[in-house]
Symmetry: C4
Subunit: 256 residues, 4 copies
């Protein structure tokens, strides 16, 4: 049943790395944060991950070059005062179906477990649906020890208030079955735009917990670029929607 | 094709157990009833079941600890005056797709059949769509002998009035192909809230049929807790929905 | 990839049988017709077919007994003045997804091909969306020879007017790849109720082509029974829909 | 996991062919263009491709003959002044799900790679959602060299403006992982009707790049035929929709 394709770019050895997951989700919070870590800490890509469950499409970059839907694994060594090693999972998409999400998560955990991973941090947004003054960071974890760590850093603990949907939740719960423990950090965000402030809030808590410095100056710039790309795509799509009814589009899809 | 993961916690021996299925469904009737049996009779969990077809999410409990989507098997021995043995299937979710439902049901039946199961009771709600004064219990069965038992206990027999959707129906019909027979007990419920009274009605009929005593005092309390958890999650979701259009949320899902 | 379960009740030998497919579809036309043939000609069930892609539910009959979602194969020998042998496929459901439809069709064709099948008739309805005075029968076929047969019996030929969706189309096109040829007979029907008249029209054309007599007196009775069962199920469902919003029902489905 | 069925009609040898993909999509632009190439250049079909993920239906042609959902591979040798060889992928449908799209694309690339393919052109439409005066052709590519070729021929380069959905995007990005490079040519089209002008624009650019002559006189005729077929199918469907509520149709689908 292993249908995820993992393309290994570099065989790595790394001591007791911490795994950071941050795929696109609510407000792009986790992804913005992790892309920023990768840039600022100069992390190195060592594997690309393709899944049949990713959306069947490509993105086009500013030069007209097509980009696959992909998840990517990076590593970076000896970060911060504790000389920690990180494995970071980023990407431009998540799986689309329950089975896809489950299979991708399991296949990635099986691939990285032999690297000696015991600790996971998953990064995401927590949608408030309302404007947020100064975004708080909320947390949840696999166990009480990790909850205590979150509390030490003044992270608010989520309590009985629904679930965490997608990779950020799944990597924690499945990670537990792989003998890993960890936490999810969620930046408060309205949830309906690319939110650099929530990403910064998450990033600062993560760097505080893991004891490393990170410059967040370029984070807003990065968010702005993402917003521009999305807004062009939305405009085009909106125009089309206004003209074509669902029915018309379905016909074009099915009948040749 | 066996992709359900069954994590065995304890190898058990048990004589001729009765299988009780009660996964979440209409009005949470079956699940409330079965969770209550497990607590009151002090049943022991012996297996956890994970499926790629469960929703790709986790729940967060009151302490901030994440909980997997899972089905669970419990056993309890020598219940009531007939010293009956029970295997009870509960959980926080059902499979999402037809194939998931089918595969999970089949894999669980294959797993528990060697324990010597011949008799099944599935518990659920029957939605009326209207307020219910005093919930009746309705029944359906795999064969006439079981229908007779239901009638002896003044359970109303469903007749040519549509189907039973989900695990409660599927375990009966597939169980038949595994050489098992049994009945489905359905508590009348409006169907749009967590219904402790319907659960109590089902529970009392089941205990009457199987000849054991059960105290239902804490059932309303349990229903209240479930309602609170759901209502927080709904509030949060509602706020988000009010702000974000479908379109916006889709964009955030697909584009990284 | 063969995941359809075929339960063989009797190993049969049969000379050069004609395969008649009539699963539930538009107006229940095909199914009514085939169920009637089976009863009137006293056909014998020799196999039951279960698929993970059937709806995850059971029906409840008038005595409260649950019935699986199932497709069934019947045979009947020496029918009519040409002493023809028939294999008839009926059931209470079709597969739900494209992959399910495809897989079920292929697995059934592989199972029955060794019986020596060369000729297929698929029976169904053609929805007009409007009241129909006297239903005509329309036809399509795998090749010109079969089109000629249809024309001889004054069956109207469909022409460039869209497609045939579901098993009636798929069994013809895939049958062709299995070395079989055949036709689809479609009774004109409004499409939104159980239509005994359209079924009768199809039945009379089929019996004319294959040269056997069939009494259609009880066909309207059969249609009436089906209507009653459906209308009870619809009433119950309607009541529920009126009370519960989609949101509520989704919560009950996912959160335990 | 290879579930696509490839029916080989002729084993071919061909030197360094260029692969042209044009399955039905936005405005039918790519499909119209490729069907026209096949006719005008007298290309030969050498393989038929069937997938469980194609829609479970058949089309009926003007003589009443049913046609499978299918993709087809054609070849044509020594085209134009550069004596180029082409492999052309056309069809009457694309896969319906992400996994279907992915699997079909991968299985076709694996099948044709041994023919020595290094270069891909995918043809499609780019929906504007608005009337288009004179359709421009837009391009995207796997790399800068191909972008340069597009620019030489005054093809507008897409830039950071969203994605390319479906086979036209996927064949490029996955082709890259198979060691192929190439471009996507997209004709500007409103997107909600069969657009012969956009197809002509794409066709002229392709023939210019690949240095062959093609007569586009019959292109509008071909578009007209496609429009007629679709409009009959739509009319019938519309009539039905107006009468039957969703609920009715679902009942007919599920309950037998």
């Amino acid at each position: 049943m292993k249908i995820t394709e993992i393309n290994i770019l570099e065989e790595i050895e790394i001591e007791n790395p911490i795994f950071i997951e941050a795929l696109p989700g609510i407000g792009h919070v986790g992804k913005l944060a992790a892309d920023h870590i990768i840039d600022e800490l100069n992390a190195t890509k060592f594997a690309e991950i393709y899944s049949p469950n990713f959306p069947p499409q490509v993105f086009v970059d500013e030069d007209g070059i097509v980009a696959s839907m992909v998840n990517e694994l990076y590593y970076v060594k000896e970060v911060g005062s504790d000389k920690l090693n990180f494995i970071i999972l980023v990407g431009n998409t998540q799986g689309l179906s329950p089975e896809g999400q489950y299979g991708i998560c399991r296949d990635i955990l099986e691939f990285i477990k032999p690297l000696g991973i015991e600790k996971i941090y998953t990064l995401g947004g927590m949608a408030t649906g309302q404007p947020v003054e100064t975004p708080s960071v909320y947390g949840a974890a696999t166990d009480n020890d990790n909850i205590d760590i979150l509390k030490e850093h003044n992270i608010k603990i989520r309590s009985n208030d629904g679930g965490i949907v997608g990779a950020s939740g799944l990597f924690l719960s499945m990670g537990k079955r792989f003998g890993m423990n960890g936490s999810c950090l969620m930046g408060e965000t309205p949830g309906y735009f690319i939110d650099a402030e929530a990403a910064e809030a998450v990033l600062l808590k993560l760097s505080e917990i893991l004891n490393f410095d990170i410059n967040t100056d370029k984070l807003e710039e990065r968010a702005e670029e993402t917003r521009e790309m999305l807004s062009k795509a939305q405009q085009m799509e909106q125009d089309l929607m206004n003209k074509a009814t669902n029915k018309d589009r379905d016909d074009l899809r099915y009948i040749g």
